[in-house]
């Protein structure tokens, strides 16, 4: 299925105080040209620099960079109705779920709307509060569901926890969600395409490697290669690879490959394969030279 004309939906889930607002603030202000509409619980908490705000009416704030922020006001359905009736539709929708929301329920909106598609559920886990939250007498089940629903787990406030705590937490989460990428995030700062998806269509003039906010991004062109081989190479890079996107050619035709939320999927690509390949991962990921070697191996196959 192609996704032309659909708006990707990202859900940011996590308990009160887990850093959702900081992350959202970062995504909105560093949107890199994406016109994001964010549905939030509380504008006030967002604390966006006044100079970035272009207009403010009722339950909406328009930012100078084309992003819009609207308050959910406890009525998600009403918010979706308002946002999806906009013209043009936003490039991306982000929902800041309430601390007790079940993100999989919110994701359901994407499955009954032709113009929406779920890009992913990002669940924030507060490094210092994990033990408290997972034993909360009223909320422990809720907390588990949020982690269970995640396509990306972000450990927030790692700077406030010691190394052993962090390691235990990562191990525990990895055991619970073996294929879901897990990364650390400080003050909500990370490469936004880790959360919002890679755009392989962006011009890649030459292969490059970027270290940004402690994450490594590698972009290059690859010659035709079979999708099965590419999938295997990516599998071998787990758990350090977090997201990938490729538009390549093999004997069956042009295809798009996504690695997102721990899942690798391919779908036919209409038109010519550009050869674009983008990868984002943890610092432990092999460096550009090593990656070149891996992904160009047996390329004639």
């Amino acid at each position: 299925m192609t996704h032309i004309g659909t708006v990707p939906l990202t859900i940011i889930s996590g308990f009160l105080g887990s850093g959702k607002t900081s992350l959202l603030n970062h995504l909105l202000t560093q949107s890199e040209g994406r016109r994001i509409t964010a549905m939030v619980n509380d504008f006030g908490a967002l604390n966006i620099d006044a100079e970035l705000i272009a207009a403010k009416h009722g339950n909406q704030i328009a930012l100078a960079n084309g992003c819009v922020c609207c308050s959910i006001g406890d009525d998600l359905m009403r918010s979706f109705m308002e946002v999806m009736q906009q013209s043009p539709l936003p490039d991306h929708i982000i929902i800041e779920a309430s601390g007790v929301a079940e993100p999989s329920r919110i994701a359901g909106f994407a499955s009954v709307d032709r113009q929406l598609r779920l890009d992913g559920i990002v669940t924030l886990v507060d490094a210092g509060a994990h033990n408290v939250h997972s034993n909360d007498p009223y909320l422990a089940d809720n907390y588990a569901k949020q982690i269970e629903a995640a396509h990306l787990l972000l450990i927030s406030k790692p700077d406030l926890a010691d190394a052993a705590t962090l390691e235990n937490l990562e191990n525990e989460l990895a055991a619970q969600k073996p294929n879901v990428p897990i990364a650390q995030m400080t003050h909500g700062v990370l490469p936004i395409n880790l959360v919002l998806g890679l755009n392989a269509a962006e011009e890649i003039r030459q292969p490059h490697e970027v270290i940004e906010h402690g994450f490594m991004q590698w972009a290059t062109h690859l010659p035709p290669q079979p999708r099965a081989a590419l999938i295997t190479k990516l599998e071998n890079l787990r758990p350090h690879v977090l997201r990938a996107k490729a538009v390549l050619q093999d004997d069956e035709g042009a295809y798009v490959l996504h690695l997102a939320g721990g899942r690798i999927s391919t779908e036919p690509h209409e038109g010519k394969a550009s050869g674009h390949f983008v990868l984002i991962g943890k610092p432990q990921m092999p460096d550009a030279a090593a990656l070149e070697k891996i992904f160009r191996q047996n390329e004639a196959a």
């Binding site: 009160l16 109705m81 309430s98």
Partner: protein, 539 residues
């Protein structure tokens, strides 16, 4: 409900208020000061009670009457038309076919409501049923619970219902095919997106409000609540215009949706709304919703949770945030009604109310728990100690009593469902409600439920200690509800100086007795001295 004159033969009314109640002789004396009083004997063979007060309903009750009722029980519309109940899925489908055959614009969406699958245990309605009604337009059947709807394939194709990810909200058959049943807000969202009909806008329109008032009037209600409304800026003006019209047959109390904005902003908005209060329209309280519903398995229950093993329900707000809101409104002297269904949620709500009261002591805050269906005696006891009132969802006993015994709660805990007797025994101020449109709005029926505790399957819930007397039930639907709305000095009883709000009944409920309480005909109402006569008829 007037303790000094519990029974009277005459009532005098002036300027929208009660001048006097008692014998002809008692009343006569008023003529010296107030001039001649004309004797009206139209209702001399009827029974006059204080106008009924529905302490938990939603104006959305008025929105569905432009669509087609397909519920199990007969239901009376705002114009007095009685819509006959449909007793099988086949009857529902046959009715829809008849509607489709007879309507002019066959391409427009066909929307029906009130369908309740709990009575049809042999099978569930599916897309094929509705495809047999029409394949070239949307056919949507909203369930009575308002939590589920059925759609035909036309709708599902328009929505591009896809993926198996959300099977929790899209009912699927064994082969993974969507059956056409959609749970929760998803279904409504899909219905609106595919039909272009904005039910949200219709739900808050003045026409809906008028329909709502007329449905309520048919049942003897003179004051009803719209118990949760986000009240977007300026929306009070249209509401005020509709309600203040002379022929609008009801007073309306609107509960502001607390978490539609941040606590401080909510306080400011409430103060702004209160400034626009009138005789008939009141913004006096805030509603907070803390969990879901028992029959939807979304209520938060204490261990051992659901009888059928379903996972525990949902919080609709973080307990911590509920506490923040309660503190802010308590500090500002604004009464809060908290929706709690499950016993765990009731307990958390009481914790948070207690915290708010420790921070901002307020005698007679009268915060109230709404529904509060699974409260234990210990909870009622604590409510008494904290000064918290309760408004129980007594209609549930009838509509879902069997399901609570067999599926959700099990027989032991179902016995204490909506324990009005327990609330009174512990000294908690009591009101009872319908939550219309979730169940039919009719205070005498609600009273009947609380008195008899009989399920639709014919089972009595509890051992008798949970039942209340007819007198107590009548008090609950008048003074009890008035007290919960802090209006007991204005309405709820027939006493000199109070508003002339009266329910006119064909029979005396005390004489008729417990079993037939629900069958008493309502002749009409008086609201602020103005008479509104019902006109019943059959569809």
């Amino acid at each position: 409900m007037n303790p000094h004159v519990p029974h009277a033969t005459h009532i005098a009314v002036r300027d929208g208020h009660i001048l006097g109640v008692g014998t002809a002789e008692n009343i006569d004396g008023w003529q010296k000061a107030w001039g001649p009083l004309a004797l009206n004997t139209d209702f001399s063979d009827k029974t006059l009670l204080p106008g009924f007060i529905e302490g938990h309903s939603h104006m959305m009750e008025g929105m569905f009457w432009d669509y087609h009722y397909v519920g199990y029980y007969d239901r009376e519309g705002p114009d007095g038309t009685v819509w006959p109940g449909l007793k099988s899925i086949d009857e529902v489908v046959a009715k829809l076919k008849e509607i489709q055959a007879n309507r002019k614009d066959k391409d427009t969406p066909l929307i029906a409501w009130g369908f309740d699958p709990i009575y049809f245990t042999d099978r569930r309605m599916n897309a094929a049923d509705l495809d047999s009604v029409a394949t070239d337009c949307s056919v949507i059947v909203l369930h009575a619970s308002l939590h589920i709807l059925n759609a035909n394939n036309f709708v599902m194709e328009a929505a591009d219902v896809k993926g198996a990810d959300n099977s929790e909200f899209i009912r699927r058959d064994e082969s993974g095919q969507a059956t056409g049943e959609f749970l929760g807000q998803l279904g409504y969202y899909m219905a609106m997106r595919t039909t272009g009909i904005n039910l949200l806008a219709i739900a808050s329109s003045p026409e809906t409000l008028v329909n709502f008032a007329n449905v309520a009037r048919q049942t003897g209600v003179t004051t009803a609540t719209d118990l949760v409304n986000p009240m977007p800026a300026g929306s009070e003006n249209a509401m005020r215009q509709a309600v203040d019209a002379d022929d609008f047959p009801m007073r309306l109390v609107v509960a502001f949706q607390g978490n539609s904005m941040e606590p401080a902003e909510g306080v400011a908005r409430m103060q702004e709304l209160q400034a626009s209060n009138s005789d008939k329209l009141r913004f006096s309280l805030v509603k907070m919703v803390a969990d879901g519903s028992i029959q939807g398995f979304s209520a938060r229950l204490k261990w051992p949770h659901y009888f059928n093993g379903a996972p525990n329900g949902l919080w609709y707000i973080e307990p911590e945030r509920l506490g923040d809101y309660l503190k802010a409104f308590t500090e500002a002297g604004i009464q809060v009604h908290v929706h709690t269904n499950g016993d765990e949620c009731t307990e958390v709500a009481l914790d948070k109310i207690e915290e708010a009261l420790r921070a901002h002591p307020w005698p007679d805050h009268r915060h109230t728990l709404q529904h509060c269906q699974m409260a234990t005696r210990a909870h009622f006891n604590r409510m008494k100690a904290l000064g918290v009132g309760v408004n129980l969802f007594s209609n549930h006993l009838y509509y879902w009593g069997d399901a609570h015994i067999n599926i959700t709660m099990g027989p032991e805990r179902a016995a204490r469902l909506d324990d009005a007797g327990g609330a009174l025994a512990e000294g908690v101020p009591l009101a009872i409600h319908s939550d219309a449109p979730v169940t039919a709005l009719a205070p005498l029926f609600t009273a009947w439920c609380a008195v008899n505790r009989l399920s639709s399957g014919g089972v009595t819930l509890g051992n008798g200690t949970q039942n209340i007397s007819v007198e107590e039930a009548l008090y609950a639907i008048t003074m009890g509800a008035a007290y919960s709305l802090k209006m007991e000095n204005e309405i709820g009883s027939l006493e000199a100086g109070k508003r002339a709000d009266i329910a006119i009944l064909a029979d005396d409920p005390i004489e008729v007795g417990a079993e037939k309480l629900k069958d008493i005909s309502v002749i009409g109402t008086m609201v602020g001295g103005r008479v509104h006569i019902n006109q019943g008829r059959s569809a």
